[in-house]
Point group: C2
């Protein structure tokens, strides 16, 4: 650990790290946005004329994609055509000064551009190259295109999500992309930490499918232990009962009972002494077997009062409980508001949009959004000046 | 960047980092397992007699929890009672030598033990303290207990998952825990990178609820842009059609069509020229409006052939497609097998269990499982010897 550098008050964790960002749409941009939030300088290299494909995905605010706005704060933009020699020279000058290159092309594309890992490593030995792809840089599926939907389905993630008998169900967010984005951040940081010791960049090869499998950990372990194939079970917990979403007079809320003692306390609080004495419900194992019957009996009682009544009664008595929120509810929720979990970004025309922030409060006294999501090629002039290169327009 | 240390061939990214691990069950252990996979030394400090609560969660293999086995490789175990002075002394000696402390107690617990952040930071200025909790260390909900189920429901994650009209639906994996675990790794690494510059440890405060909100990013942006509240939509894509799971003669598979040109190509391949010319399906926006009608027409045709037929035909012709897998399928899948995405761990009695590996291939020529999940207190003797402390049994 080097302690010879003193840092200023505004120092962010990844300050001093420069990331060249060739990514498009979601998994890659989610990764580089986190790196940028944490203080890295992120230079987004986009295709001239069109830019990141996400710029064309609706809905739009003031002519700018909300999808793009939500994952591209704290980035600069320069449009470069990596098939043109002038633009390749600019790109290579950027790589000389960079710590990290992140890309999410299909495997083989960087090689075709002459920027495969062996070439890059030979020429820029300090450079970490993080590649995010559907299936990874190796294996029989490496060349196939993938989307979030494909890896959610192929990994088994869909097979454990949804209501029994209702057919396939996606996780409602793009966990195939976002999971890979988070692992790509971890891999990039790990490579930078190793580089701090040995001076060498390395390749970080992140497969979206692999990341979904990693997130399935407990389902895979249960299958290995029991031999029965986990399926979808709606909203309830796979091995604890009652641990589910229940309907009250005016809507849904959660009751999470993890022990027999808590179950007896719940029955007391609900004036359901008969349930506490019912032999079908005497232990967690028995309650899991008779889950549907128990849920019906509980809901019959719960429907006599509004959620707020039950939430207060249970919370006051140490029964884990919680609200069921819509997206409209969560953006007004006192806890996440107190935590500053939303950020406001702006379109190039100045229109605001509320987006999710970063759960890591990285301090440094700086706002989360240090730089608004860029218009295509917005930072060309300054970047070329920094590189001491002539100010040619983009191809 | 310091280049004065040369590292051995077996060097892993987080080699040299020591993590004291006070975590239980899932969010915390998932974080520390990743740190361990990446090369950190992880010393799990458990409650004497019982240990990590996950040790009691079924199903069991050879008397050991499969749940525990799946998130506790590459860790040592020592049982310490943090309310006993002798054990506190051992714990404090460990902290003196540690780089990171990870804990996922309810906020306030560490303070009650005399190990709040101000005390720890004053005494161990080099120490990074990563705290994972349901709602974070601040805000009106900070003291409430939370489980994966609670934060999935409260964040809105459930509200966008499931089938329309079928009621609440959990993401089938514990994304509330695992999302927080991934962010906790990122925050810990960030803090270590900043510490390499300024010599100071810092507090990383990770809220499970915040992390779910971060994963909702596109739903929040869409709501902000359009004002309509996103709801569950089963297996299809929110803004592209046909982009869904479809039923063939023998089961489900994915078709992911992202452009009008690909849609026309799909119609050709399926011999459905009438669809290509149907004005209801002429553009993606129109196809989204008439999604149900289009799905019915496509499935009528798709049900005439088995999945394998369609997967090959579509893949050969550049239409993104993919298998729908169960957990039983994915553990045999040629791509994840080629990527080495499964690991085998063993119970203390030597029984093997297949678990998910780490999607980051961190190299160093070492196996992923350098150390089997420990029995409770398994490493006491060696750890005490290292600390030059007397070999007292655990309390």
């Amino acid at each position: 650990m080097s302690t010879d550098m003193q840092v200023s008050q505004g120092d962010l964790p990844l300050q001093g790290i420069t990331v060249i960002d060739l990514t498009r749409v979601l998994a890659g941009p989610a990764c580089t946005q986190i790196l940028g939030d944490l203080g890295a300088r992120v230079i987004k290299v986009e295709q001239p004329g069109v830019g990141d494909d996400a710029r064309a995905i609706g809905p739009f605010v003031d002519g700018t994609s909300a999808y793009f706005l939500s994952v591209n704060r704290n980035k600069e933009s320069i449009a470069l055509d990596l098939k043109q020699s002038g633009d390749r020279e600019i790109f290579e000058r950027l790589l000389e000064r960079a710590d990290v290159l992140v890309e999410n092309y299909r495997p083989g594309t960087m090689e075709k551009l002459g920027y495969g890992w062996p070439e890059l490593h030979a020429r820029y030995p300090q450079l970490v190259m993080t590649s995010v792809s559907g299936f990874g840089q190796t294996g029989p599926y490496r060349g196939f295109p993938a989307y979030d939907m494909v890896v959610q389905a192929m990994s088994g993630m869909m097979s454990v999500t949804g209501h029994p008998g209702a057919g396939p169900c996606r996780v409602g967010v793009s966990i195939g992309d976002l999971g890979a984005g988070l692992y790509a951040v971890i891999g990039t940081q790990s490579a930078l930490m190793r580089r701090a010791r040995n001076g060498q960049g390395e390749r970080v090869d992140v497969s979206m499918l692999d990341c979904q499998v990693a997130l399935l950990e407990n389902a895979i372990a249960r299958y290995g232990a029991m031999g029965s194939v986990p399926g979808p079970i709606g909203s309830r917990h796979p091995s604890m009962t009652p641990f589910d979403v229940f309907v009250a007079q005016d809507g849904w809320f959660v009751i999470a009972v993890g022990s027999d003692a808590l179950f007896r306390r719940l029955c007391d609080l609900l004036d359901l002494a008969a349930l506490a004495g019912d032999e079908r419900f005497a232990t967690n194992a028995l309650r899991c077997m008779h889950e549907a019957a128990l849920k019906e009996l509980l809901e019959k009682r719960l429907q006599t009062q509004p959620r707020a009544h039950w939430l207060k009664l249970l919370a006051d008595n140490g029964i884990p409980t919680g609200e069921y929120s819509s997206v409209a509810d969560i953006v007004e929720h006192p806890q996440v508001l107190a935590r500053g979990m939303f950020a406001q970004v702006q379109t190039p025309g100045g229109q605001p949009l509320r987006v999710a922030g970063n759960p890591l409060t990285v301090g440094g006294g700086q706002p989360l959004v240090r730089r608004q999501p860029p218009a295509l090629d917005a930072d060309r002039e300054r970047i070329l000046q920094e590189l001491a290169m002539p100010l040619a327009p983009s191809a």
